[in-house]
């Protein structure tokens, strides 16, 4: 029997301290070949620090990293040929055109894709001769991904590839990722959009304060919620969380934007009691809605915070 190929990404016990914060605090990950893996977590959770350690851009204080079975030290040049990267914030040279930028990046790799092909794939062919400085935010993001793809990598690292994009551009980027995977590539991405993670990722790790606090397929994480239905409400005055938690079948209660989100086991059991409670306290109901739990609910119940700062 052949030995199984080394995982695309493997890290054990990563730790990274900055003067006033421990950004990564004993983090383990294993990403299989051909997998799309998502890192989720609130702002400052340590996603970017982690991904940059894996990319060989930041040195960890402790821990081991193996990319495609190889360590960074001693294999730097060879590994860089095999990965493609889109950083959370890069500004390419404003004075160059899109095509010139892609051609420049292509020249760094011994083998790679045809740059026209990459431009077409990211729908940048019409913008090929436009200056980078004149591109919209979404077009710049696509250019960043194009630069990541042009070296024909085996692993694609994408740090928040769709932040700030309009729905159309996001869809386009999802297609690019999907196509890359069909061709056998591995993807590690970070995102603040739970729908994106549900759509694209085979598995996700929820990270908070530099640690993995949950790991699994999106379905597993949602299924692991004891209460798989969510009731969102707003009332005047807002009822106290403690009283709501005492209602039958309520498993959790979190602020969610202007609303309160209750995780409940069954609507027929909880809703009448909830309405009675509100009426008893003289509150006026302003909003009431229910939905099946999503990855976002998993996240909120895990971290007690909302993923996006909005």
């Amino acid at each position: 029997m052949l030995p199984a190929p080394a995982p695309a990404i493997l890290c054990r016990g990563l730790r990274k301290r900055y003067p006033d914060v421990v950004a990564v605090d004993g983090l383990d990950l294993e990403v299989r070949r051909g997998e799309c893996f998502g890192l989720l977590g609130p702002n400052g959770a340590g996603k970017t620090t982690t991904i940059e350690i894996l990319e060989g851009l930041t040195n960890a204080d402790e821990g081991d990293v193996a990319i495609l079975g190889e360590r960074w030290s001693g294999n730097t040049q060879a590994l860089k040929e095999r990965i493609g990267i889109s950083l959370q914030e890069t500004r390419f040279n404003d004075k160059l055109t899109v095509a010139e930028t892609i051609r420049l990046f292509r020249s760094f790799y011994r083998t790679g894709r045809d740059h026209d092909d990459v431009l077409r794939r990211l729908s940048l062919d019409e913008k090929a001769n436009a200056r980078v400085g004149k591109l919209s935010g979404g077009q710049r993001q696509r250019l960043a991904v194009a630069c990541a793809l042009v070296g024909d990598p085996e692993i694609l690292f994408l740090d928040e590839p769709t932040t700030g994009l309009d729905p159309q551009s996001r869809l386009q980027l999802w297609e690019v990722v999907t196509k890359f995977r069909k061709e056998g590539g591995t993807v590690l991405l970070t995102t603040h959009y739970m729908d994106e993670a549900e759509r694209l990722c085979d598995r996700v790790a929820v990270i908070d304060r530099g640690r993995v606090i949950r790991l699994g397929t999106p379905a597993e994480l949602i299924g692991a919620l004891e209460a798989s239905t969510v009731v969102e409400l707003a009332a005047d005055p807002m009822p106290e969380a403690a009283r709501l938690l005492a209602l039958p079948g309520v498993q959790g209660c979190h602020a969610r934007g202007p609303n309160l989100a209750l995780h409940v086991e069954s609507l027929p059991r909880t809703v009448p009691a909830l309405l009675a409670e509100l009426e008893g306290s003289g509150a006026t109901l302003l909003h009431l809605s229910t939905h099946h739990a999503t990855l976002e609910d998993v996240f909120v119940s895990l971290t007690g915070r909302e993923l996006r700062d909005t």
Binding site: E55, G56, L57, T58, Q77, K80, E81, I85, L87, E89, T90, R91, F92, N93, K95, L96, E100, R103, L104, F105, R106, S107, F108, Y109, R110, D114, R131, C147, G151
Partner: protein, 344 residues
């Protein structure tokens, strides 16, 4: 498709980046010409100014004034006696001649112009009174091409320009790329770091010829400044000089994170050379004790070599020490920059 060379692509994109910055063209091509024009006309060779003197009104004042006016070095005006002394006191005139009774010169002997006026006035009055000089002395004026101020200035401006464009161009480009995290993105690729830094220097070659030709062509057309030595040697000196300053630019920009920081550093490095390296006046005027230090500065070496070739028509052998100096600066800066350069 043949594999493109990263060094070539980096150099070409760097050149394009530079051309597409409008203001760069001004600083490289227009500014040195404006400077040459301003200084060239300010210090152009002309007949020396006449020294203003006064004659106080009195019995013989008209005749004395007439005698004084025969001197080409004096400009004579008649004054009321009180107004004449006042004019002397405030420096409007350098000498007052009083002619009530005996002829009297009133002047301040600590003022060089006054001493000069006195000598000229004595000569003029004695000659008018019939003095015959026992010895005839011939004169030859030396305002030859090659010895004028503009001939001295143009090589200095050329050196200054090679320094400024080299350092500012390289420095801004690197620090902008660093502050926008572009350097970090580049080191995440298999690009060789050496190639990036070499491209910064290589891209200088693209402008060098134009930059030198424009300034020298202008100086030749407008001021009739020529090159006495070999044009090839001049080209070699410009090339080595440009490379030395591009290397220095890479070094100065190797760690700075903001444009402000790198501007400060650039000024710190370049300002002493503006003043000490013999751009506007010869570095020989500084005391002997600091000469070894001045000679070691790359701009001094570049200016000296340019002048030797342009004015004296010197040979390769004569400028060899300067070429060695510049090469050492280039290699040293580049080697140190490669070690200390901050990519993230």
């Amino acid at each position: 498709m043949p594999a493109p060379s990263p060094l070539y692509e980096l150099t070409v994109t760097r050149v394009k980046e530079f051309i597409r910055q409008g203001e760069a063209v001004f600083w490289v091509f227009v500014f040195p010409i404006l400077l040459a024009l301003a200084l060239g006309f300010a210090f152009r060779d002309k007949t020396p100014d006449r020294i203003p003197i006064g004659v106080a009104n009195g019995a013989r004042s008209a005749a004395v004034a007439k005698a004084l006016e025969t001197s080409p070095a004096l400009r004579v005006r008649l004054y009321d006696p009180v107004a004449g002394r006042e004019a002397l006191r405030v420096g409007k005139i350098s000498l007052l001649v009083e002619v009530d009774g005996a002829t009297l010169f009133r002047f301040d002997p600590t003022r060089p112009d006054s001493r000069m006026a006195r000598m000229e006035a004595v000569d003029a009055l004695q000659r008018a009174a019939g003095r015959v000089d026992p010895v005839t002395i011939g004169e030859e004026r030396v305002t030859e091409r090659g010895s004028r101020y503009i001939d001295f200035l143009i090589p200095g401006l050329l050196g200054l320009n090679l320094m400024s464009t080299g350092m500012w161009g390289v420095g801004f480009s690197i620090v902008t790329a660093r502050s926008q995290k572009l350097l970090k993105r580049l080191v995440a690729t298999p690009m060789r770091k050496r190639d990036y830094l070499l491209a910064q220097m290589a891209s200088r070659i693209a402008f060098l010829a134009a930059e030198v030709a424009v300034l020298l062509g202008f100086a030749w057309l407008v001021f009739d400044v020529g090159v006495r030595g070999s044009l090839l040697l001049l080209a070699v000196i410009c090339f080595v000089g440009a490379m030395a300053f591009a290397g220095l630019g890479v070094l100065v920009a190797s760690r700075a994170e903001t444009i402000e920081a790198v501007s400060g550093l650039m000024n710190f490095v370049m300002l002493p050379m503006w003043l000490l390296s013999g751009v506007f006046f010869s570095a020989d005027r500084f005391p002997d004790s600091v000469q070894p230090f001045l000679r070691a500065l790359p701009l001094t070496a570049l200016n000296d070599a340019l002048r030797e070739v342009m004015i004296e028509g010197a040979s390769v052998v004569a400028v060899l020490p300067e070429l060695v100096n510049l090469t050492v600066w280039m290699l040293l800066s580049f080697a140190v920059a490669l070690r200390v350069f901050k990519w993230k």
